[in-house]
Subunit: 243 residues, 2 copies
Amino acid sequence: MPKSIYENIYRDLKQKIEQKIFAYQELLPSEHTLIQTYGCSRNTLRRAISRLVTDGYVQTIQGKGVRNIYEPVEQTAFTLGEIESFEESAQRSGNRAFTKVLLFTEFEINEKLSLCTGFPIGARVYYIQRLHYLNDIPLILNHNYFLQEAIPGLTKEIAEKSIYQYLEQTLHMTIINSKRIMTVEKMTQIDEKYLNMNSEDYNCMAVVSSQTYNSDGVMFEYTQSRHRPDYFRFYDNAVRKPF
Amino acid sequence: MPKSIYENIYRDLKQKIEQKIFAYQELLPSEHTLIQTYGCSRNTLRRAISRLVTDGYVQTIQGKGVRNIYEPVEQTAFTLGEIESFEESAQRSGNRAFTKVLLFTEFEINEKLSLCTGFPIGARVYYIQRLHYLNDIPLILNHNYFLQEAIPGLTKEIAEKSIYQYLEQTLHMTIINSKRIMTVEKMTQIDEKYLNMNSEDYNCMAVVSSQTYNSDGVMFEYTQSRHRPDYFRFYDNAVRKPF
DNA sequence: GCCGATTTGTCCGTATGTATC
DNA sequence: CGATACATACGGACAAATCGG
């Protein structure tokens, strides 16, 4: 059970929308009504609503109400604006996830790598290559760089399970945010080999590069995720201006 | 000058961060201090800060403060989470934008197109092909579908300028949100021809499909944007949980 | 076109909880 | 432990947009 009231309300409303208890294109009950339903303050309710807005579940119109614009999307998708590990994402969508560690090593950041990753020159990092399978299909080839001084005791065994679980539950690290850039890049021979692709067919990959920060403000991770182009899907909901 | 207090504060802080008045990795002045600086309430200030968080400019840490994690990014990028037209984006980054209308026609949505666009079968739409140039390089091939009943009086001349400007300023339509999906697709002969590409080189495109809603809750636009892979860049900042 | 009721948007002040140092 | 800082929550006031009479 989540901690805060507004998050409980958010989840409850979200669920009701997904279960079509509120019809598509219909207005939700008014703020006033929902406040009485949940017995909370107006600010608290509005906060829950605003999360539904950024999720693209509803749109609010001043003077009118809150309209349900949720339509279900396919499952194998990755959603933006959220930090979710591969395992979490797979579990949420009810798919079988499996991770194979191709390489587990460590080295020092040189000038070229510093430019690419954003780590300072001379920083010591773990470099891990991992292949993520979804329902036995290799979908993502990950190149992880983890700052050693921020992540003591990382092993190949941990990398095979979930590194994020180790970070949060064992090291009690708090992950704050992750800056991501999506690009399209040429497929390499390594990509072809591990993702079981043929460059005669697709010769490009969807590449997501991310820099992740913890609560100490240190960028502890740089990751390049190379996705099979035919399975890659990224969702986003852009909102007008207000929050 | 923007209307609301929190937006003014947001812009002011954002500008100060961009101009490096606050140093990278440093903590901003505390909420209490900033409240006195701006002479506003706590809620108002926190609202401004929360927008900086979703922009990836700062991270807030309970008990510590608000840390500046802004680093400038290259210019030709598209940013997620915002609705911005091609013209606006180009202007913001100080580049020359030019739009060529390749095709301006109208027809009725059939079953196949209904599945693809999300418009109901039988709906009448404008179908527009436009080529967007940035600094004289053709970067994006756009396939726009606009619902006719929502957009009366659209002409080829308007499409050459800015359709969004027409929607907002002439028709006084309010754009609320836009659901987007990013994928990687095979390059077509049309893509090759207009974007001046050669499929011997890259044979894929970055494709952004979007459905845009107005304040009447009607999806009035479906657009497929096909981007040159070598120039395509999409930014995103993922945040932990809270808002 | 105006007015009033409804509904969301903005803003304020205050109290309490919780994490950091 | 206390001081500081952010997080959550409440209640109230007024503004602005929508809609129906």
